[in-house]
Amino acid sequence: MKIRKLSNSCVAALATLSIMILASCASIQLIAPYDERIENGITELQKNTTEFFVKIERQGGSDNNDYNNHVEFYDNSKVAMKCLLIRAGATAQNEKTEDQISLLMEKYESLEKQHKTIGLTPYTIPSLEASFDQIFRAILTLEVAKKELNEEKEGE
């Protein structure tokens, strides 16, 4: 009877130990998972921004008097950015994407200030467009890398 009790408690202890060890070997997560809404939101912003620059370039620039005709673009961009920032901030370990979106927001604010005070001259447009493309590419590169990570996990 004693041997049976000892044997049972030994099995229980081993089972507990094995569960603890295996639990400690579970996979870790260092970065937030992929968020489709962030990817789609950034892609949409990129499209609208490109349309804005194409329009400004086609009309040969836009001085500060013409700024009022583009307020809607700035307002829509701000709203979209705020939504994305809140979305990114709501996910744990998403600081890098959150910071990237904050930088993009800063770019829109700076662009609007320039447009409002000085205007956007034709020579500045290609450079501006390229700088926005670069930040969109940076945000999407990270998000796509997260997507691949998710797909790899699901494939296992």
Binding site: L22, I28, K96, Q114, S131, L142, A145
Partner: protein, 117 residues
């Protein structure tokens, strides 16, 4: 009861599992960073040329440079993120090896137990 775990072998296997992820992730981050930094330099040089030719004012040139600074900060964040992803993949691959080794060792240990019921 026998609990056989060859620690040296497991550590080696863990390293072998982790290294390809670090190498691939490192290469991906490096290629992305190298491309974006090159673009940054080309664009800044272009702004300088435009300023020298009088196509843009000094104020406009500064505004454009500031815009690129913000973009390159986001690039650096992406590079950091790619590094974190590579590290996560590497750590998880190593943990997977450890988990399998422990499973096998524990399985063998349980098999040799004689239940006295």
């Amino acid at each position: 009861m026998q609990f056989k775990l060859n620690i040296t072998q497991v550590v080696n296997d863990m390293l072998q599992a982790a290294i390809p992820h670090l190498a691939k992730g490192g290469q991906q981050a490096s290629e992305f960073a190298s491309h974006e930094f090159q673009q940054f330099i080309i664009n800044i040089e272009h702004i300088q040329t435009m300023a020298e030719e009088g196509k843009v004012s000094d104020e406009e040139a500064q505004f454009l440079v500031d815009q690129y600074k913000l973009s390159i900060k986001a690039v650096l964040l992406a590079v950091e993120g790619l590094g974190v992803i590579a590290a996560q993949k590497a750590i998880n691959a190593a943990l997977d090896v450890l988990k399998n080794a422990l499973n096998a060792a524990l399985g063998a240990a349980f098999k040799s137990i004689k239940f006295a019921i």
